[in-house]
Symmetry: C2
């Protein structure tokens, strides 16, 4: 039974934005999963929380779709880590998604502010 007074615009993430945020995190160069998550959390000033149960499925999803490619390497802490790099298709996808995002935000805000 779901609590009746529960989820206020669910979770810590707006569903569908995680892929975009990951792609964006890779724009400056390859990174491994853990650091991508930290990067998103840091840049959002801890507002967005990237859980493991969302992160890894998302990375695999993106790799399957060909937006990113993974390779094994060593982290700054000398630990085995899987790095991901943006593919050209991924870069293109990122621009598509960000403009779509902007469009949707604008649309929602227009409904929210009937003034003007």
């Amino acid at each position: 039974m779901p609590k009746p007074g529960a989820p206020p615009l669910q979770g810590d993430l707006l569903q569908g934005t995680l892929d975009m945020l990951i792609l964006q995190s890779l724009i400056l160069g390859p990174a491994h999963g853990h650091s991508i998550a930290h990067n998103i959390e840091r840049h959002s000033r801890e507002v967005l929380q990237v859980e493991h149960g969302s992160l890894y499925p998302a990375l695999h999803r993106l790799e399957t779709r060909g937006w990113i490619t993974g390779f094994w390497g060593t982290s700054e802490n000398n630990r085995r880590a899987k790095y991901y790099r943006l593919t050209p298709a991924g870069k293109k996808q990122l621009t598509t998604q960000t403009s779509r995002w902007a469009e949707l935000v604008q649309a929602v805000n227009r409904v929210l502010r009937p003034a003007e």
Copy 2:
């Protein structure tokens, strides 16, 4: 099998925002389902599309949670229509959700624009 090159920030709606948009539509007074959908589409300049399969489940969900109450009436076209009215709890919920929405949008945008 899902098409590999398919969904760009899924659907026509950002998941989780529909409830908020419906509540907002009722802020000026009761309305029936069909007109709520049209209202959202119009104010968003047709960017947001509210499908029947999303609308009615959402209305029932909101009613179950006590944010809105429904009553039968007659539409402008002299047809049987179910009107919904915002409850005090729903009004409160709306302000909660809109501020949460603003917070999330700001957070995502900060990740998207590492500049500044």
